[in-house]
């Protein structure tokens, strides 16, 4: 199995070649006392994209965001956000980004209007009208105190605050938790609109359906390592589910040859299920010709299946032995 997809795997689009990446990380490593949150993470995120960082709970997503926003120093490695090193100039980074955490901590004694006025005082004149418009759109009364808002309403206020200064990079950590389906849908669509205007959205989530709807590029983080990184459409086209039926459950089957990459394999009786990257029709044909193979079925994997394949530990002993 591949432990990390190198940056070179991602072939840039023609229009990206002339643009500086909005986020670059180079071998970011973060050791905590009892765990390794990040292990040599290298990424480049191009401007004008919606980037989704997928990973299980505890995969290291929030740690990475904290490093990118200048709240945490990494154990080793480096990164730049909007061309600024967040460790040297966190204010420089924060000036250009909008950030919403999964549980935004707002001053709960302030009213919705007060927190808008307070935040607006640190930005230009366009902040307050944008914020007020956003609040109106979300149907939140400005005189309400934050402490009296529901979880979803708080999320809406936090989003409004993060978006009101029209940041060039928006970093969202589980942005839609607490939002109702209608608002969630509108919000996700607005993310696509933002990317279309050249702004970048960094989205950390494990909501596969949302990511599928809006993301241009994804990376899957598992146990502190990037397991898969690339444009979503390309990744989806390149990964197939292969189901092989054999005549004997104990029969050993050779894996598809290079450049195919088996992400995961599961055995159930006489049936073997594999998720394979870079699978070609010749390989499928070769599998069908393998002695003992009674049938081979293939289809393009869904993103959810890709995610599960990249983050699961299931590998069949027979296949492992064969490999």
């Amino acid at each position: 199995m591949s432990s990390q997809a190198p940056v070179a795997d991602h072939l840039p689009e023609p229009n990206e070649t002339t643009m500086e990446p909005v986020i670059t990380t180079d071998a970011l490593t973060m050791h905590f006392r009892r765990c390794d949150a990040l292990m040599g993470v290298s990424l480049e995120i191009q401007p004008g994209t919606v980037f989704a960082l997928l990973g299980e709970n505890g995969a290291g997503k929030t740690t990475m965001i904290r490093i990118l926003t200048g709240f945490q120093k990494p154990t080793s490695g480096s990164c730049t956000v909007c061309g600024v090193n967040p460790l040297r100039d966190p204010q420089g980074v924060r000036r250009q980004i909008g950030y919403v955490s999964d549980a935004p901590a707002l001053y709960d004694w302030m009213t919705v209007a007060q927190i808008g006025g307070f935040t607006a005082s640190f930005y230009d004149d366009s902040f307050l009208p944008n914020y007020e418009a956003s609040i109106r759109r979300y149907d939140i009364r400005p005189e309400q105190k934050i402490r009296h808002l529901s979880k979803g309403q708080r999320a809406k206020v936090a989003l409004s605050l993060a978006l009101a200064h029209d940041p060039s990079l928006l970093i969202l950590d589980e942005p839609t938790s607490g939002l109702d389906p209608k608002v969630r849908r509108n919000f996700l669509e607005s993310m696509i609109d933002r990317a279309a205007t050249g702004r970048t959205v960094f989205l950390s989530s494990h909501q596969i359906s949302e990511v599928e709807r809006v993301a241009d590029t994804i990376a899957i983080l598992h146990h502190g390592r990037i397991r898969l990184h690339g444009p979503l459409a390309e990744l989806r086209e390149s990964i197939h589910e292969v189901v092989i039926d054999v005549d004997d459950p104990l029969r050993s089957i050779a894996p598809p040859p290079e450049p195919a990459e088996v992400l995961t394999e599961e055995t159930s009786g006489r049936s073997r299920q594999l998720f394979v990257r870079h699978l070609s029709p010749e390989m499928i044909h070769a599998l069908r010709e393998t002695p003992g193979v009674t049938e081979v079925r293939t289809r393009i994997a869904t993103l959810e299946e890709i995610f599960v394949a990249c983050t699961s530990h299931r590998t069949a002993p027979a296949m492992t032995a064969a490999i």
Binding site: Q72, K73, A105, F122
Partner: protein, 820 residues
């Protein structure tokens, strides 16, 4: 280009000003609850002082006025840092704030500046209150340093207080920036805040010579200023470090082991097993606040060790002088144990967790309280056992002599703990709870002690008031678990506060009302009677009685000639009765009232007895002549005294009459019965009806004047029953007791006039004068009354009126004339 630059500069300036204003508004608003709280409590204390001073007079609750006011800037300084920084860190709003385009330097400096200006405002407020309410001592300047009684006993040197509060403010910011856990930061602040005093004590301890108090004051100020100089930069550095990126842990795993590797398995990873349903909740109680509980136990232990040390020493100089401060850790720990019930780190999540699991409010309540209460019980047990071993004598240690009993300490512990856990339930933030709870606990304990000592509040009432906050939190438990306790919690809180305040007042009122007041009709009737009697145009004559003067003791010269003094005084003791009654005789026939006090009467009585003894011994004409003069003068004096409308005058008339009857019966021989002096004395003896009328008149008039003479002096009369009443209620109960006294005396007067055997009035007088004594053996009992009156008269003072009324002497007039 230049225009654009100007516009940009203007815009930037406007936004800077705007953001500064908003920033200051936010910080000030965060301080507002603390400021309001402290201002309300301080004003409340001042008002309580003023009200108690006006209502209770000499019983004024001795709260230190200016210290009360000066403590509040200190409390503000303690709370500002934890509130502006610690609370933001614990609620993670500091992360959100740091996300804004505002520098760490600006965040840190703004918070500190707001704290300093808040402190200045608190000082202005405190000094204004001191000025307006005229607190403090006017004859000394509070702006001097070391000019009074020393740093430990002189909390009134404003420069020292101000500089120390500034130091505490900076230290509070420092610990809040350094330590994320609010409780731990407050704990760290305690030794830091006291560090100048500790340093001063160390200097005092290790100096080779005794240091004057003024010197210590200056040293304290020096250490405080040094502390300010040191703490300011490190506070700033701590702020910048905290607001910057968190450092990566330097410890690197030795082996790259899998998260599921057995190498990662530790004891923590093994799920504990429990035998009962209650055990896991208790286990959770201990493990959820291990650090906090350990620190609080440590505080109790330190305080206990300080008490042990203090009980063994008899002077508190140098480092020992700090030990009394350590004693304060114990009530503080009890208070914070109470706060730990609902406000330790993660307490709300814990309650939420239990609520989600469906654990009943009762069991949750038990779980929250069981560990703090267990700690308190163990501490009390240790204290009680140690107290048994202490020798409670001043000669060993004044501290040991004054150690409270286990029951007293337990009562205080219940009050403090109960109030604190209640505060921790209804106050949202830990910091405000930590500051408010000790103040409220102190006020409550002070009020209940006052109620017990001065208002006679019973012990079961004290227990009731102590448990009321516990009941309140129990009642609110279900709503609290469902986070739906507001606004009902304020209603219940108001009820508890009302109970604690009003219950002692209710008990006091009931106690006062338990003494019956006089029937209004009878009162009006007697007042009318008194009005008539006191309106007589009688002339008052003061009977001059020479001899030992009242102020003899003051004129006594200890270095003078003792023999000369004795001769002079003995000479003065001899009294000429005719000279004393000369003015009465010159007004013979007129309505003259003699004024003679108990002390003067004692002189009269003694001289007449001396004349009688002299006559008995000598049996000659000069001796008879002298005794006759006394009889004659007494015969003049008696009717004039009997006319007195003062009750004390009637008492003296009774005594004089008893003395004259005894003299006539015992010492006048039959052959001298017809002498003018004897005849005059015989005729002066009154009748029961006459005496009854005079006594009644005196009783009602004296009562009308509240048992005081024209100069406001009590007429040598004191009701013993008042000594057994709560001191704070004496003023309220006294008129009622005097009503009872008057009613009983009027009954006694009637009984004496009619020679009735009714003992009701005597029983009542006994109750008023000898509360708790045995009636039959009392001054109003039959045993004493069966003796001759002359043998039972007390001299020099009045120990209860009416003792001579209705006894045999009143009815013996005919026996004198038939004496052989």
């Amino acid at each position: 280009m230049s225009t654009e630059a100007t516009l940009t500069a203007l815009t930037t300036t406007r936004h800077e000003a705007s953001s500064t204003a908003w920033f200051w508004w936010k910080e000030t608003r965060q301080l507002a609850p603390l400021v309001a709280l402290l201002a309300i409590v301080s004003l409340l204390i001042v008002v309580i002082n003023a009200v108690l001073g006006a209502a209770m007079g000499w019983l004024r609750l001795q709260l230190p006025h200016e210290v009360t006011m000066l403590v509040f800037p200190g409390l503000f300084a303690t709370g500002a840092g934890p509130l502006l920084v610690g609370q933001e860190r614990s609620q993670r709003t500091i992360d959100w704030l740091a996300l804004l385009p505002v520098s760490s330097k600006r965040i840190a400096s703004t918070k500190l500046l707001v704290g300093m200006i808040g402190l200045a405002v608190m000082w202005v407020f405190a000094l204004l209150v001191i000025l307006v309410f005229e607190l403090g001592q006017r004859d000394t300047s509070h702006w001097t340093i070391g000019g009074q009684t020393g740093y430990s006993g002189n909390p009134f040197s404003y420069p020292v207080w101000i500089s120390h509060s500034l130091f505490v403010l900076l230290a509070g910011f420092y610990v809040a920036w350094r330590i994320k856990n609010q409780f731990y930061s407050l704990i760290a602040l305690i030794p830091l805040a006291f560090s100048p005093l500790i340093a001063t004590s160390l200097v005092s301890e290790f100096a080779n010579r005794p240091m004057a108090a003024g010197q210590l004051d200056w040293i304290n100020l020096g250490f405080t200023l040094l502390g300010i100089v040191i703490v300011t930069p490190i506070t700033y550095r701590a702020a910048i470090r905290t607001l910057g990126a968190a450092e990566a842990p330097s410890v690197k795993p030795l082996l790259d082991v899998s998260p599921h590797s057995p190498a990662r398995e530790t004891n923590d990873a093994i799920a504990p097993t429990f035998g009962t349903q209650t055990a896991p909740i208790i286990w959770q109680s201990i493990h959820s606040a291990k650090g906090m509980l350990a620190i609080l136990i440590g505080m109790l232990l330190i305080s206990f060790l300080a008490a042990v040390q203090l009980a063994a020493v008899d002077r508190y100089r140098g480092i020992i002088g700090l030990l009394p401060w350590l004693l304060l850790l114990a009530p503080l720990a009890v208070c914070w144990l109470g706060i730990s019930v609902f406000k330790h780190d993660g307490a709300s999540e814990r309650v939420r967790f239990l609520a989600d699991l469906g654990v009943s409010p009762g069991k949750t309540y038990f779980a929250l309280h069981v560990v703090p209460i267990a700690i308190l019980c163990c501490s009390l047990l240790v204290y009680g056992l140690w107290n048994l071993t202490v020798i409670h004598r001043d000669s060993v240690s004044s501290f040991a002599a004054g150690l409270p009993t286990l029951v007293t300490i337990s009562m205080f512990v219940v009050w403090i703990y109960s109030i604190s856990q209640w505060v921790s339930q209804f106050v949202r933030t830990l910091i405000l709870s930590v500051i408010l709870a000790p103040i409220l606990a102190l006020i409550t304990a002070g009020w209940l002690v006052f109620a017990y000592v001065s208002l006679g509040f019973p012990i079961y009432g004290l227990i009731l008031c102590g448990l009321a906050p516990m009941v309140a939190t129990f009642v609110m438990m279900r709503r609290y678990m469902d986070t739906g306790d507001r606004p009902l919690t304020f209603v219940v809180g108001g009820g508890v506060a009302g109970l604690i305040v009003l219950l002692p007042i209710g008990f006091a009122t009931a106690h006062v009302l338990s003494v019956p007041t006089m029937d209004p009709t009878l009162r009006a009737e007697l007042l009318g009677e008194a009005q008539r009697d006191s309106g007589r145009n009688a002339r008052y004559v003061v009977v001059p009685v020479t001899g030992f003067a009242d102020d003899f003791a003051f004129r006594h010269d200890p270095l003078g000639d003792k023999m000369k003094d004795l001769q002079d005084h003995l000479g003065q003791y001899k009294l000429d009765p005719q000279k004393s009654v000369a003015s009465l005789k010159s007004n013979a026939g007129a309505d003259v009232v003699a004024h003679i006090g108990p002390w003067e009467y004692t002189r009269w009585h003694g001289n007449m007895m001396r004349a009688r003894i002299q006559w008995r011994q000598q049996q000659d004409d000069p001796a008879w002549s002298e005794m006759a003069q006394w009889l004659d003068a007494s015969a003049t004096l008696l009717p004039a005294v009997r006319r007195s409308t003062l009750l004390s005058g009637q008492e003296i008339a009774d005594r004089l009459e008893v003395l004259m009857i005894d003299t006539l019966q015992t010492d006048v021989p039959a052959e001298r019965a017809d002498e003018p002096a004897v005849q005059a004395a015989t005729q002066a003896i009154g009748t029961p009806a006459g005496r009854a009328a005079a006594r009644r008149r005196a009783v009602v008039v004296t009562w009308q004047h509240n048992f005081q003479d024209d100069r406001g002096r009590y007429l040598n009369h004191h009701l013993t029953v008042l000594e057994h009443q709560p001191p704070g209620l004496v003023g309220w109960m006294q008129p009622r007791f005097y009503d009872s006294l008057v009613t009983a005396m009027l009954e006694g007067i009637d009984a004496a006039a009619n020679r009735s055997d009714d003992i009701g009035w005597r029983w009542e007088l006994h109750q008023l004068h000898q509360t708790g004594g045995e009636f039959q053996t009392s001054r109003y009992g039959d045993n004493l009354r069966s003796l001759p009156a002359i043998e039972t008269m007390t001299v020099d003072r009045v120990n209860g009126y009416g003792q001579l009324w209705g006894r045999d002497w009143e009815y013996v007039e005919l026996k004198i004339r038939t004496q052989p």
